[in-house]
Structure formats: C-alpha cells, structure tokens
Symmetry: C2
Subunit: 397 residues, 2 copies
C-alpha cells in the first residue's frame, strides 16, 4: 500500500467546518488503498494572533519562548482533525514534534529538520490509523521546541514523505502553480507540471505557493509533490524531476515578483573595501540578494545591492562606517522581477527579448542578476504591473 | 536558598497585562533570596473555549485528542510569562510536561502524577533562572499527553514542591480560605490557617478553592500551602499540619455546599443485589457519594445514593436492570451541605446542634453521611441559603 503524506495549510483548517470537510476528503483518499499521514498548519490566522499576543507582552519576545507559543497552533489543529476523523469512524491519532522526536537544528524560528523517528507513525499506519502530525516544528538538541519558519509545514510534509518513502500532496487555497500570480495577471496559466529547479527559482524569487526548502528536499530525494485545492475536482500541478517531465518544455515556465527588498547604492567606493563590507553585512545575518558593480576607475567603483526591507536600518549603520551619507543612495521602490525556465539553459536571446520588451514600454532596469535558468531585474515598483502584462504576453505565460 | 513553587490560576493570567504584573510580583519574591518555580494554568476562559471548539467538531471528542488540545493552554501562558520575565531582565525558561517527563497514569482527563524528573528544573534554578512549568498535565506510559482534571494545576504545584523540597504558594482570585463561601454568606470569616484534613473535607464537599488531590499530596509529604491573592498585601491562609497549628482550634472550621449531585432512591430493593448494583455503577466510573439504606424487611430495603448530575443518564440505565421505573425516585433538587472541623473528633453534640437548627427552620434532611471530622446532609436546594445563614451564625463561622 502506498503511503501518502498530505499537507493542509492554515486556510484549509481555519474553522471547525473546514476541518470536518477535510476529514471527509481524507477518508475518501484512504479508500483508494493508501496509508495516510496528514501534516497540518495552525488554524487560519493563529500565527498572526500569537505574534500579537507576544507583542502585548514585549516588543522583543525571547525566541525560544516564541517558538513554544507558536508550536501550540499546530497541536490545536492536529488534535481537532484527529477528533473529526475519529468521530466519523476513521481511527486517527495525532503526534507532536516531541512525540516523534523530529530533531531539528539551527536558530529558533528558522530551524531545519535533521531527522524524524517514524517508528510510531509506521506502527499507527499498520494499525490502520490515519496519522496527524504537527507541521512547522521540531525539537533541538537541548530538548526545546523550535520552528521551521513561515511555510515550514511544507518542509515537514516532504521530510515525512522522504522518511516514509511516500508521495506528497500539498493542499492549499490555490488550485496549482501558475506561470505567474493570477491575482496580478488574470490570464496566467496553470501549469500541469513544473521541474524542481524551476519551482525553486520561482519560490525564491517571490512566488509564495511553496516553502523553497521543501522543494530542495523533494528534489534531493526525488519525491513528487502535488499542489492543489483541498476541495474541488480541478487538477493541480505536479512538481517533479526532469526524467518524468515531458521531453520538450517551454523556454520560460514562470514569472515571479517580489516587493520585499530595498536597494542600496554606494558611489565612489574604494574597491579594496568591498570584501570587508559584504563580510560585515553577512556577519549580521543580513542576506544580500542582487549585487552589481561598475568597473573600477582609480580603484573607485559604484556598487549596488539589494537586502530585505526590514534589515535596512541595521545595514545602513554598517554602510555608514564605509561611506558618507552623500555617497549612499537608498531606493525603497524596487520590484524584483524574475523569469524562470529550464529552457533558458539551451535557448539564447531570452535576456535580449526581455530587454526589448522593457525598452519598448519605457521600463528602466536598475539591477540585473542571472542564474542558468533565471533572469532577475530590479525595476521601479510603479512599472510592475505593465511589466507583468507585457512579459507574460510576450512569453505566453 | 529556599525553593518556592508558586501557582497562578487562570484568572491571574487572563490577559497580557495581568501576566506582566505577575512577572513583577515574581521578581519581587525572587529578591527575598528564593529560587522560584512557577506553575501556570491556561489563560482565563481558554479551557471553556477549547471545549466549545472541540464540540464544534463532535459532541463526543476522543479523550486523547481532547487532552492534546487542552494541554496547549498552559503552554501558551507559560511561554508568555517567561517572555514577560525575560523582557524585564529576569532570566526565565518554560518547560512543558514532555520536557520534564511529568509521568502520569490513569485515564485521560483525570490522570494522576506519578513522578517528575526535576533535574532540568534544578539545573535552571542553579543558573539563576525562574522556571515556568505548565500545570495540569503529564505524559502517560504511551508517551501521550494527559491532563489531571479541573484544578489539576494545584496538584502540579504541590507535586513540584514535594520533589524540590520547597514551599508552595497558590495565587488565585480569592484572598484566602473562608469558613464558608463569602458569595453565599457575606459575614464569612477568612481563616488564618486550616488543617490539611479539614481543607480536604471542605474541598471534597464543594469548596472550589483548591483541587482536593493537591491537599492529600501536601498532607502526605508535609508541604505547607499558602493560598492568597496574586496582587495585594492582605494576608491569605496557610494550609498545614496539626503540629504547626494553634493548640486549640474551633470545633467547626468551615462549611461547604454543592449542587452538583442528584439523588436516586430505589424502593423495595432486594438486599442481596446491593453489592452487585454498586459494583456495576463503579465499573462505569461513576462515583457514588452519599449512601443510606433502611433496615431490611423480608430482604427488601429502600436505598438512596447521590451521584454527579452529569452521570444520571448512564446510572439510570444501570438501575433499570435492577428495578422498575415505579420503584425508582430521582431527586435533582438536592444540595449537599457539609460542616467540617477537626474539633468534631473530641466534641459531642455537633450533629444534634445541626439537627436542632435545621428543625427550628423547617429544613428537611434527605440523606446524612458523616466522617470523623465532617457531617454532610442532603437538603432541598430551596433551603440552601437559609441553612447557610443559620448554621454559619450558629457555629460562628
């Protein structure tokens, strides 16, 4: 019998009625001769509510205790879903990170799963039970509860699928992966399938459907992920490896945008200091995304880079020890605009086509970075919508 | 340095402001050269809210999962209190039942604590930290979370005081133990001290200040318990052993009433069946409190007993296999009225004084049971208030 690991996001378990309806889905799925493990997120807005509660105590809650608080959200939804299944005559049992010894490392709020002891799960599955597991959490080497960061339940689900050698199904409030966000471009096309690497680039470029670490993990272990609506018959999207994909795909699979970053430009910068500057920034745990610099003239360069908006103040204080205020330009109105496609590897002219479309529409490019399968431009936020429309049409997304 | 185990009830941690104010109290108490362990209940009405939530899923939620749900309430308040202490510069750490391996046995929702591994607590106390422990919960031999029943946090606190050889302070929304409920008798007197056995009889007779199992545990290990308001300077009540009490106490210490029970009377009952009847009732986990029977005539007796109101339906179906409907009388309008005092042991005439007062006021007695230090009468609920007034005055409570 196949093991299927299903994950239901917060919006799918936001109230008792939705939990009861999910329970019925699970029972249907179980009848297809499968052993079912379900990973749940916290109900609806619980995470935000908890952050508000903690902020009622202090602006800077201790991270260990914040993780204790956060982890209760999944315990609540897991117990309720198990109750719902039991009440419908389907034997079910919930397990928390403590009970499964989901070992995790790394700092509180952004830990990574090291291992899961699935012996309890396997025993319960053998007994015919549906097993509910609290997503988003693990236990560190001090025996403290720790969380995996926003969207971490996706990673919990994939990790369980890896350990149980099963399939993974992610149920959410969108009916699949789109070439670009349908809320921003109404003609966006739903993809039948997408390759791990493409999904990874999209996820890290701002597409919020999946936790990017979950895709990495699935790719590493060759776990196929299905993403779709929890209720409804419309087919969703499969995230899978190259071999299982159609032989010839499109050049560009998807488009993602992100308004989360800000750019910093330093003019007349001594090029000998550049390593030291980025080392200082990295030491503060600030992740720099795009970097570009001009060729040096008399050892002076102009360097631009982007960082998450919330890190701006800390980053500014580092920069101020290298450059005077007059030499530093902050730009808060940027949108990172990324095109992703495995086809880029073998197709020339994607970049030039992008530049041509931008040029025709008077969209200025502020920064560019590329990977083998991705091209990202920072553009002015006011140009975002027209850029989405023109590029999506130009590349038939 | 003394170890002090403080317990704060749900009303003391009902909102973030109250949690912050408790944190300040704890810091003050710590300055009196003490190591502090704090047991918290769930915030305010959390328990009731959770029961509503579970009932939104099903009328009969599985007890294992209900305990998972319930146990999150204390995790939330524990983490928030630790955050509050940390934010005030007082190092603090929260521990759950899993982390401390609070081992418990017995059925879900009414488990008993078997042992607590206090090594983590002792280590944290040595490091100067205030340790916050989730009350009301333990882990059973299957590794499942289980709860101790309403008021179980009192027992958690006393159990920790036993294991840590410390003092126990119970902070609540009343300022001490009263001779009778001040909401029912406005002249009720606050007691400076009360003996374990008296408190135990009062608690099991309906006084809801303390979880009765916590008193048993304290008595067994000679742990002194202080009960008082969390904020405010007024002195509360000490619950302690006979040796530390004043030499001569009052005959009657307190009065408690309970409306939680219903009485069942079976007429013309075959006396040979009585053991079997009560065995059947016990096997269903129904606790019978008061029992009285008439002397047999031709092996026929009349037997009356009280059970908790919520068990009535189940109990009726047992009784129906022993007696026809015409032979069974149910009385839902009874109040158990109990007088408690160690002095009863050596003083005659308490019962007759009670009967005299009842008689003078036309209060009929339906059932009577007594222990060495307690006399309990079931009376009609409509007579409750006058009985309280007359008896409290008669015995100067």
């Amino acid at each position: 019998m196949d093991v299927v690991v299903q994950k239901y996001g917060g919006s799918s378990v936001s109230c008792t009625d939705k939990i009861k309806s999910i329970a019925k889905n699970i029972i249907q799925r179980k009848k297809q001769n499968s052993k079912i493990v379900v990973v749940v997120s916290a109900m609806g807005d619980t995470t935000d509510d908890y952050i508000k509660l903690a902020n009622g105590i202090t602006e800077k809650p201790s991270k260990r205790e914040l993780d204790v608080l956060m982890s209760t959200g999944e315990m609540i939804s897991a117990s309720l879903l198990a109750m719902a299944l039991n009440s419908l005559g389907c034997d079910s049992i919930s397990y928390s990170a403590y009970q499964l010894q989901i070992s995790a490392s790394g700092s509180h709020g952004k830990s990574q799963i090291d291992d899961i002891d699935v012996s309890k799960i396997e025993k319960s599955l053998e007994e015919g039970k549906v097993v509910i597991v609290t997503g988003f959490q693990g236990v560190n080497d001090k025996g403290d509860i720790t969380t995996l960061g926003r969207g971490g339940s996706d990673t919990s689900a994939v990790a369980l699928a890896v350990k149980l050698n099963g399939k993974c199904e992610i149920y959410t409030d969108v009916d699949g992966i789109y070439s670009t966000d349908p809320r921003k471009y109404k003609d966006a096309k739903k993809l039948q399938e997408i390759e791990y690497e493409e999904m990874l680039e999209l996820a890290s470029s701002g597409a919020q459907v999946m936790h990017s670490r979950s895709i990495e993990l699935a790719q590493k272990h060759g776990i196929e992920i299905y993403v779709g609506l929890s209720c409804g018959k419309e087919k969703g999207t499969y995230i899978r490896g190259g071999k299982e994909m159609k032989l010839e795909g499109k050049v560009i699979t998807g488009l993602a945008t992100s308004d989360e970053d800000t750019s910093i430009t330093i003019k007349d910068f001594n090029s000998n200091n550049i390593a030291s500057l980025f080392e200082d920034i990295a030491n503060k745990g600030i992740s720099v995304d795009m970097i570009s610099q001009t060729a040096p003239v008399d050892e002076k360069i102009s360097v631009s880079f982007t960082i998450p908006k919330e890190e701006l103040n800390e980053c500014k204080s580092i920069v101020s020890s290298y450059a005077s205020d007059e030499e530093v330009v902050i730009d808060n109105n940027i949108t990172k605009f990324s095109l992703v496609g495995l086809g880029m590897k073998n197709t020339h002219g994607v970049a030039s086509k992008v530049f041509k479309i931008f040029n025709e529409n008077n969209i200025g490019i502020k920064l560019i970075t590329t990977s083998e399968i991705r091209i990202t431009c920072a553009i002015d936020s006011k140009d975002k919508q027209i850029a989405i429309n023109k590029i999506a049409r130009g590349f038939d997304l």
